[in-house]
Amino acid sequence: MRDVATKAHEKIVVNGKSVVTAPTHVHIGFDEAHVLHELKHYLPSQTPIKDFIHHNTLHGFQHLKFYDAIFKAGKIFGYQITLQLTEFRELHKIGRIKTAVLDKVLRDKKGADAPAWKEKLLTKDYDTAVPARIGALRANWRSQYKIDLDAAVHPLLFRVLCSYLDQGISLWRFPVKTKSFLGALREMERNSFSSFFKTKRAKQLLLSGNCQLPDLLKIVVGKPEYYEQYLFDQQFSHQGWSGIAAAIEDMPQTLLDRRDISLHDLIVFELLLEIDALDFHVGKNWEPLCNRVTAPPLDLFADVPSSELQEVFILWQDAFEWSYYDEVLSGIAANKKRQQPAPTVKSFQAVFCIDERECSLRRHVEAMDPQAETLGSPGFFTVEFFFQPENGQFYEKLCPAPVTPKYLIKETQSNEVRPHELLYTEKTNTLLPGFLSTLTLGFVSAVQLFLNQFRPKMSPAISNAFTHMHHHSVLSIENKNWTTARTTCKSASRWRK
């Protein structure tokens, strides 16, 4: 909790865009912008699954040393951050953690105390449960108000979020998608016979536009010194949805069919749903949560004191890692002594991606043809660009995620018709066509699925790596007409020599 006076900002929608206006309210002890920034920092940052880009799951803690970071993350969010103690012991028992390496780790770190620590690692009983800090404040809804607020709010919240962000699964498209998330909800609420809410107050708050975060938090939480903890509790009760909303807010281009969503809007809607649920289940005269809470606000990110159990996990993890590392370094050292001269005449060379799955294929190519030479380089081969498949509406980035390409490669003359499978038509999801197709195509589908178990084969429903680019298509790589290219490709260009 910040102890400085801070200002809340009103977010309004102008010409379909969210705009932050001048500050309208002053709330001591709650820095809205700071809390939203912190939430985004620690929430999962996975983008939509079509672009699965691997990253450090605990990226929010990367400024700390690995062990400090994982134990802190474990204490705050309740994550299991190493193998279980029993798993380490089993790995040692079956020889995957080598005794010689474990002894070396203990000797290097504990010196004369190594035998005592070894005893702790191997046999001492520990209570390995680490109660998490997250969730403690909102747990009071259940204990003080006898209401499971998550169960009352999450189902509707997730459905509305999913409908708004939907990229093409749903047959019924979200009615208003040209506005921000909150703007769209407001317009629907204003123009619909039905409502997102069961009670009047939340509806009026949304329609009047009088739903700034501090005002809603005052109704739900009551005391500003608890707001930050409450919002962390609330958003980490569904870190997947909150994380994707935050990721899309920062990278709207990650959606092909763009949406104007923000973590702020998500929280506002969730708070409105909470007010609605409490009004409905508890009645109108409920007190804000923190009027009934006696515990002081918790500093979620306070230092986590070190413990003997943490030290035991560190020693096991080091021993596990070096059991393999040492074996590898020994193998490389032994291999150096028997190195054969490289072939002077090379039959062919092959440059693979550095990906570890290509490690074995390189080995087999060399075994099958000792005159062949293999090399490894990151699989974008040092060329960064967007790719537009023939008849594709969108550009696909083909380089590492942090790079923003300036070039566009277009595919033309593929002369291949994209195969289509009648069974996968979306019309089967509607009432009458669905009924009829179930009676007809449904039986064919059932037979096909049955046969597929025994003899699977390629079909249009399968993600086929070879159809990303058609085999005989032409790529627009070289810019032979710079003037034309500039006008046709707009922001992207093609290479000059």
């Binding site: 939509p48 990367q62 997947g240 596990f320 291999n335 150096k336 090379k346 043809d369 990151p378």
Partner: protein
Amino acid sequence: MTNRVEAFLRSIGLVKDFAPLVYLVAHGSSSANNPHHSAHDCGACSGRPGSVNARVMAHMANHAKVRELLNARGLSIPEWTRFVGSLHDTASDQIAFYDEHTLIAQHRERHKANITIWEKALDANAKERSRRFASIKTKDSLKNVRQEILRRSVSMFEPRPELGHGTNTLCIIGKRDMTKGVFLDRRAFLNSYDHRTDPDGTLLTGVMRPIGIVCGGINLEYYFSRVDNYKLGAGTKLPHNVMGLIGVANSCDGDLRPGLPVQMIEVHDPVRLLVVVEHRPEVVLKVIQTTPEMYEWYVNEWVHIVAANPDDGRFYYFKNGEFKPYQPLGQTADVVSDFYQLVEQAKEMETNGIVDATQENLPVYLLS
């Protein structure tokens, strides 16, 4: 175009002794009924197959004008050398070559002979991969094993078309001599680099730049999905619903499940990445300190790094801001003469094969 071809070739030390044909082998992955399919594609291509990149670089490297400009910069590619783009499907173990029609007759003959080598290598690769899959008898004939590998990749009922980056642990940056003939059980990212062409580490800076964020990122995502598959991973694939084409959830009322599903991490040992760089420790230190973002990965120990010093043949481990000599414990790696026997006799899963994949990793071997 010239700049990129030069940067590409110099970074991997391919500056002389060109073969008549140089294949650029991109990779992608085919699978059915798999919302996480892009996690199996190329991470350096933003989670997509790299076939376009391979074709583009091959086109550039074959360009007569580019060759001329490269020659003026002291990088001579013989006129008879041709680059060929290709794509390896890591799930089905199939390969496709592009623009073969542009090869002259002599090269076509060579290419035809090379395809036989590629097919044999893919047979062996399929056999090696099969040891972890319950549905395939590794001792079966090469032809049958390859066929079964292909079938898995197109089966609607197969939650493990491949095992992705599971077991990744190493990133070795150096000449192929370091690891050629060493059996690393598909656990190593291998980045070619020749320190002899880069004594002061200028090229190494470019090589090292993506290592933390790409290889370290992959490794840590697998680590955390493995140690806490409930909160940091996506749980089992089987009940997943695809939500709005943006993520997966266990029901329409459930939270989105970021991270990796259990079928991708079950074989993974949660250990941090060990980067081994073939260069002098002082050069490696200077390179990793180029930017605070790069240095953070190493000084905060999210990734381990060892310098393999070519001058004295010793290893130097980076800890607390400095490289210090590391002497391996002297474990001896067994020498294996029959690779197929090694794979066929490897320990298989002890649990029910339908709901599991073989988790046992094999030790480091030297292949004779």
